[in-house]
């Protein structure tokens, strides 16, 4: 008995550390979500809910709904472009001998190390010089720039030697290059393509700096939330923040389900 107790006591600091760590990560989110259900006009204790009035207010707000639509358009289209470009780059580097292959690969992944602020500023200056007006298109281009390295890295890591041999077998049986790609390479890479697409969507979904720098009249949801925050805190910001968080979680869960669901099959 004594030994058990001592063991429990010895483990106590470890448990305290774990609680502290997770509290640090999740407490802000929990507070945000909790006060989105507040009834009164200020999101501070004491909690006097629950109420859905702030969610109603969010969904009744036309500007907010426009921003939501814009976010969805940008996230899906920029992620599709990033996945297609990432796949093509990975295919070229994994299946062909290219001059300076190491350098090309490094340059493709390099944007991962550059801050979004720098990328956003660079694009802003470039678009200004070239005379491209700020729009959803420019935000989309910005998101392709940040998501392409990620999509490339994920897809490239899955195009191993084993898959190359299977592609070779298809060629041996008479498949032309486009048939090899359409009937063998892409179906075998499906989990990686799916994973990189959904990760790109989550990154685009709550990206702020680039969207802020490269937008003018049409803005995405994070930019709209930011302009709302400037007029002061109220539970509506909590509600929309919780909504953004909920969508991100849903995408990650969907991804997890699809990838691990396939593994178990």
């Amino acid at each position: 008995m004594n030994g058990r107790l001592r063991q429990t006591l010895a483990a106590a600091p470890a448990w305290a550390y774990v609680l502290l760590l997770y509290g640090f990560i999740f407490l802000p989110v929990a507070v945000l979500v909790l006060f989105s259900f507040q009834t009164s006009r200020v999101p501070i204790p004491p909690f006097n809910g629950p109420s859905l009035r702030w969610y109603e207010a969010v969904f009744a707000d036309a500007r907010m709904m426009d921003a939501l639509g814009n976010s969805i358009i940008v996230a899906i289209s920029s992620s599709l472009v990033a996945v297609v470009l990432g796949f093509l780059a990975a295919y070229a580097l994994a299946r062909h001998r290219l001059p300076f292959a190491g350098l090309l690969q490094g340059m493709l992944v390099a944007p991962l190390t550059v801050s979004y602020l720098i990328i956003g500023m660079g694009l802003l200056i470039t678009f200004n010089q070239v005379g491209v007006p700020k729009s959803l298109l420019t935000i989309g281009i910005g998101h392709v720039v940040i998501n392409l390295p990620l999509c490339f890295a994920i897809i490239f890591s899955q195009m191993g030697a084993q898959q190359a041999i299977v592609e070779r077998a298809a060629r041996d049986l008479g498949a032309r290059e486009w048939q090899v790609m359409a009937l063998v390479t892409v179906p075998m890479l499906w989990p990686a393509l799916f994973a990189s697409f959904f990760l790109a969507v989550t990154f685009s979904w709550d990206e702020f700096i680039i969207a802020f720098l490269l937008s003018r009249f049409d803005v995405t949801l994070p930019v709209e939330i930011w302009s709302m925050l400037r007029t002061g805190l109220n539970p509506k910001t909590n509600a929309v923040g919780s909504f953004v968080f909920l969508i991100s979680i849903a995408i990650v869960l969907a991804l997890d389900f699809v990838i691990f669901g396939r593994r178990q099959a």
Partner: protein
């Protein structure tokens, strides 16, 4: 006289500084079962890849059914391959795997289904069409790969160490089946392996490769009983080699001076040249008989039982190198035993290379 199924003409292959194949000339007859045998790095897989179109030789030409195929890509060649780890399409059913080549050749659906069914039946997987690849055992995957490659009726079927991943018993069983299927379909098979027992069990013709060159070529019996070189003699099963110098020659016979005394053998060689005599362990006898020559008394160092026989390592006192001796199943030998050994001179093979 029709053209051979495959002709290699002066094929050389260079990878950087390494010469993987050095001017290979080889003809493969139609409907033959040919095994390319050699240790890893001997060039056997390179030669197969050149035949399949996966590699372009540095120089030389490949002819398939008399037509130059050197630069024809794999998709357009009348060859198909059974790959080492099968390379099946994991996202397709068994039937879709087997039907893939026919689909690429635009064979219409009803004919395709019939031919797929026939191919699956031939490899003993008639009811497996709807299964997924990951539900199959290693041996079954092997059969699917074979059916997939054969269903398009290739001029030559290439097999790249297809049995390497199977356990011994299954491997022996698949060898018999491969041989039967080959006789039934009459397709030319070119099979690569490093397993000399497998080569002897299935081949009509064995091509022994070493260091990018053909070391020996012929029927299994000929290569085993009368190897053409020291390498071939050592690589094909167990062997004893007696190094020596030719003392006299004439009339198709030579006398060779070796560390075990002067031994006679059939053949012709210049007196004074360095040669070797090879002798299989099963050709060493422990009792005197008609025409047998005594070569001395040896001491058993090690003995093991292999079911059909005993195998011993024995040394002649005063000599370092051990002799491999095969003894009868019921003749038990222990380390330290002394044996008198005899040979039949007609079993000694003169090796000049």
């Amino acid at each position: 006289m029709s053209a051979p199924a495959v002709e290699f003409r002066e094929i050389s292959m260079r990878f950087g500084d390494k010469l993987a194949l050095d001017r290979i000339d080889l003809e493969i007859a139609e409907a033959a079962f040919v095994v390319l045998l050699g240790p890893s790095g001997s060039g056997k897989t390179t030669l197969l890849n050149i035949l399949g179109g996966f590699l372009e030789p540095t120089s030389g030409r490949v002819l398939i059914n008399g037509e130059d195929a050197t630069r024809v890509p794999p998709a357009k060649r009348s060859t198909t391959t059974v790959f080492q780890d099968y390379a099946l399409f994991p996202h397709m059913s068994v039937a879709a795997n087997v039907g893939f080549g026919l689909k690429m050749r635009k064979v219409d659906r009803s004919e395709r289904d019939q031919r797929v069914a026939r191919a699956l039946e031939m490899v003993g997987l008639a009811d497996f069409g709807a299964r997924r690849i990951h539900e199959l055992s290693g041996g079954q995957r092997q059969r699917v790969a074979l059916a997939r490659a054969l269903v398009v009726e290739p001029a030559v079927l290439l097999l790249d160490e297809p049995l390497g991943a199977l356990d011994l018993k299954l491997r022996r069983q698949m060898q018999e089946e491969l041989k039967l299927i080959q006789k039934r379909v009459g397709t030319t098979f070119v099979h690569v392996t490093h397993d000399q027992e497998e080569a002897m069990a299935i081949a009509d013709t064995i091509v022994v490769l070493n260091d990018g060159a053909i070391e020996d070529i012929g029927e299994p019996e000929r290569i085993y009983l009368r190897p053409a070189s020291r390498f071939s003699a050592r690589f094909m099963g167990e062997n004893n080699l007696f190094e020596g110098t030719v003392k006299s020659a004439g009339g198709g016979r030579v006398e060779v001076e070796t560390a075990r005394g002067t031994l006679p053998a059939a053949g012709d060689a210049e007196p004074g040249t360095r040669v070797a005599l090879s002798l299989r362990p099963e050709h060493l006898y422990t009792e005197a008989g008609d025409g047998l020559l005594e070569i001395g008394e040896v001491e058993v160092v090690e003995a093991g039982f292999f079911g059909t026989h005993h195998q011993c390592l024995a040394t002649l006192p005063g000599h370092e190198e051990a002799l491999r001796v095969r003894l009868d199943q019921k003749r038990i030998a222990r380390a330290g035993d002394r044996l008198k050994l005899y040979v039949d001179p007609t079993d000694l093979v003169l090796l000049q290379r």
